[in-house]
């Protein structure tokens, strides 16, 4: 099991390099809307979606990269959201069953309802994020002059806060609703088992001290009680 962990870390290190190229290719797509095409920003270099995309457009990948790195910035505790694979995570989620509305009751009529009544839009998650990203970028252009992923870190934070509080105006649904969905996805990708493409190298589990799944504690539960443990986390892939 330990052998498996080593090439993985190596892969991650390499990813930073490969990622820069991919980032340039990606932001290129979004850049067509804007002239002149800007140089790849420092933040965009962290894009690192070194996996081919299944569902996201280049502009969507650039947005997610910037958004996840704003929510989960790199520091001594962990790499940034995108470095942890969250764009890959999101891409797979939106390409798959959940993203396309499986297990969602989709019959009309559709009415806005009260907050207590929960999600009432006809959109699948795939469609919801597509619409939300367009609205977020329109808001960013209107307020700060550029798409969200081109903003400075300070402006991104301001834009994120405006969506979080609902102050940002979106045409079709509340920006707060978009923020909450984005936020939930970021947390899912960051903390889920790495099998889903995020949480590379179990970065978030290391950050909080979650040991993952070695979990047979019948013999140790008493011995471990109240003690700080230093268990190398293990994920699903470590057991197959």
């Amino acid at each position: 099991m330990a052998d498996q962990a080593i090439p993985r870390r190596g892969f991650l290190k390499g990813a930073g390099v490969a990622g820069a190229g991919a980032a340039a290719a990606l932001t290129g797509g979004a850049a067509q809307a804007q002239t002149p095409a800007p140089a790849v920003t420092a933040a965009a270099k962290q894009v690192a979606p070194n996996e081919p995309l299944l569902a996201l457009t280049a502009a969507e990948a650039a947005f997610f990269t910037a958004a996840f790195d704003t929510l989960i910035p790199a520091d001594k505790l962990s790499p940034s959201g995108s470095e942890c694979g969250l764009v890959t995570f999101m891409d797979r989620q939106l390409a798959g069953a959940w993203g396309n509305g499986a297990r969602l009751y989709r019959a009309g009529p559709f009415m806005p309802g009260k907050p207590e009544q929960g999600y009432q839009l006809p959109l699948t998650p795939r469609e919801f994020f597509a619409a939300g990203i367009k609205a977020a970028n329109a808001y960013a252009r209107k307020t700060f002059g550029k798409d969200f992923d081109r903003l400075s870190p300070t402006d991104r934070e301001a834009a994120m806060k405006a969506m979080e509080s609902g102050q940002a105006q979106f045409p079709d649904f509340a920006s707060k609703m978009f923020f909450e969905a984005l936020y939930a996805s970021a947390m899912e990708g960051f903390f889920a088992d790495p099998i889903h493409g995020g949480n590379r190298d179990k970065a978030s589990w290391r950050m909080i001290g979650y040991p993952g799944l070695p979990a047979t504690y019948a013999r140790t539960a008493e011995q471990y009680r109240g003690k700080k443990l230093n268990i190398e986390p293990q994920s699903i892939a470590d057991f197959i």
């Binding site: 969602l104 009751y105 907050p115 999600y119 934070e157 019948a218 699903i236």
Partner: protein
């Protein structure tokens, strides 16, 4: 035209705990039983396999083992005047599906209700006066008592290998158990689970406050065990993947491991999966159902299954739906308070206090059942005289796995994202737990189930419409209990506490349990209840209805121990009385 099958003695609709217990008891009595289950087969050996079962995103967050809302869901509104809308995904709670039902992925908390719960109306009137019950509440007696059910609770605990400590053995109060429980005929079959750090902290703080902490009864077996059916149960590994998950150690009791191995070998039993019961064939004149009609989901074909007797074990929502569609029993009308089908839908009034402490909690070492609890503020275990509400609940730390997508907290005032959030998350992940309150849900005139006029499920039936909000009484209870829990948290020397009582409307982001009761309630009078004390329909002699649906109101303890005891109780009446002389067991 429906394909018509050969008639059988009994059709059971739904194969969760209720259906499995019923099927086992009736086949043992010599009856031929067909169980129709809308979902697929589910066996721990194939479906609950390590490491894949421990996938928090797939199994818990995306509700991997739960009913698919695209197939069937409910509509919901807070009050009779509102427009109900479909629960398009599980934002508040989720429902079971497939063989084993919710029993294959429950937590395992296995309570007996307190004796006064079964005679709630009489008890409160006697203790607090004839007019003491607030007008908004529709509280009723069950028609069955704790003493009636005691032997059946005992059977269920032995079936599950429940781990716990008796507090009242045949009337003698036993140190270390629950002094408020009704008298038990026997100890629990297994010793309590290993105490967790949070459990130790609760125990110490509660004792200092003069309360009576004890180990929560858990159907997560503390040792390898063989139940009276001869089925083997493994030893719990404290892996932190109970609630919403299946147990790969076979240590958490489920119909799948505690009953199905024997039931499925019995030639008198036949299971048909992917068989979605659509309607009952009811003949009002003869007061009998002639059988059921179901959709074979493999072919889409409609199949009629005639039977001498039908037992609905399909969870409260489908039980209500099938009764309503067949026209059995008078539909409940909140405007007049008359009628019975759909009446007294209740939920669970849960809340929590976040507790931030210095101690290392290691929340990932745990089971679905917190090993320590206090029941001092349960039901009517304390004097409600001056309080202005009835009911209560139990208080226990919820440390059931620390699965990180969902189980994290940061102190009040911490930003929700960014560097400061990361730092606080890293700092507090192992130093926080919720101290949970699991409270009563008392019947309110406006809380009920009926048929939605607009939305339909995948087989064309109307969705069940839930009209529910937390009654004023229950909100007051929640504030009182949450304050009590906060006192306990402070006695643990918590750095911060975050009490959050249920004071706003029921709905998305403000519900917490998958416990639903009422709709086809039992009682003593056909005018106010749908079932007699043996869970037989007052209107239809060969129809019995199991599950939480039969509860007149919901207690503060989790429901499944009582659901199972009622199934054994009803099965006893069927096998000892009904099959000898099919007809009304009680004359209303």
């Amino acid at each position: 035209m429906a394909k018509v099958m050969k008639s059988v003695d009994v059709v059971i609709v739904g194969l969760g705990w209720s259906g499995s217990i019923m099927a086992r008891e009736l086949t043992k009595a010599g009856l031929n039983v067909v169980a129709l289950e809308r979902g697929a087969e589910r066996t721990p050996a194939e479906d609950f396999v390590f490491p894949y079962i421990r996938d928090e995103l797939k199994v818990r967050v995306r509700n991997g083992l739960m009913l698919d809302t695209a197939t069937e869901t409910l509509t919901m509104r807070n009050a009779p005047g509102d427009t109900a809308l479909p629960m398009r995904r599980w934002d508040v709670f989720s429902l079971g599906d497939n063989v084993g039902g919710a029993g294959s992925h429950w937590n395992g908390i296995t309570w007996r209700f307190t004796p006064s719960e079964f005679v709630l109306r009489s008890h409160l009137r006697e203790r607090y006066g004839r007019d003491a019950i607030p007008a908004e509440l529709q509280l009723q007696d069950w028609g069955v008592t704790y003493d009636d059910l005691e032997p059946h609770y005992d059977r269920f605990e032995k079936l599950c290998g429940t781990s716990g400590k008796a507090g009242n053995l045949k009337g003698r109060i036993v140190e270390g158990g629950n002094p408020f429980e009704g008298p038990r005929s026997d100890e629990y079959p297994n010793k309590p689970l290993i105490m967790s750090q949070a459990g130790l902290m609760l125990t110490k703080a509660a004792r200092e406050l003069g309360l009576h902490p004890f180990p929560t009864p858990a159907s997560n077996s503390s040792a390898p065990y063989t139940n009276p059916e001869g089925c083997a149960i493994g030893q719990c590994q404290y892996c932190g993947h109970c609630e919403y998950f299946g147990c790969e150690a076979n240590a958490k009791a489920s119909p799948n491991i505690c009953l199905h191995p024997v039931l499925f070998r019995d030639p008198k039993f036949e299971l048909r999966t992917l068989s979605y019961v659509k309607s009952l064939n009811y003949d009002a004149q003869s007061r009998r159902v002639r059988g059921v009609v179901y959709i074979d989901r493999r072919t889409g074909e409609e199949v009629e299954q005639p039977a001498e007797m039908v037992v609905l074990c399909a969870y409260p929502f489908n039980n209500v739906l099938l009764m309503r569609l067949a026209g059995i029993g008078k539909p409940y009308d909140p405007a007049t308070g008359e009628g019975v089908i759909g009446k007294n839908y209740c939920y669970q009034t849960n809340s929590a206090v976040g507790v931030f402490v210095d101690e290392e909690i290691n929340p990932f070492i745990g089971t679905g059942v917190s090993p320590a609890v206090v029941d001092d503020f349960q039901g009517d275990n304390f004097d409600h005289g001056p309080l202005g509400f009835f009911g209560g609940g139990y208080i226990s730390p919820t440390v059931s796995g620390g699965r990180p997508i969902q189980v994290r907290a940061t102190p009040p005032g911490t930003p929700r994202w960014g560097a400061a959030w990361k730092e606080a998350t890293a700092q507090w992940y192992n130093h926080w737990f919720p101290l949970s309150i699991h409270g009563t849900s008392y019947a309110h005139r406006n809380n009920y189930l009926d048929l939605d006029p607009t939305y339909r499920d995948a087989i064309g039936r109307p969705l069940v419409r839930m009209t529910f909000n937390y009654p004023e009484n229950d909100r007051k209870m929640s504030v009182f209990l949450t304050n009590k829990a906060n006192d306990i948290a402070k006695a643990m020397n918590a750095r911060f506490t975050t009490p959050a009582p249920r004071t706003s409307n029921f709905g998305a982001a403000n519900g917490q349990a998958s416990h639903h009761t009422g709709g086809v309630i039992m009682g003593t009078d056909p005018k106010t209840s749908a079932l007699n004390r043996y869970l037989q329909s007052w209107d239809c002699d060969n129809l019995f209805v199991m599950g939480g649906a039969a509860f007149p109101q919901n207690a503060g303890h989790n429901p499944t121990g009582t659901i199972a005891a009622l199934a054994y109780w009803s099965a006893k009446a069927i096998t000892e009385q009904y099959i000898k002389a099919p007809g009304r067991l009680v004359h209303g």
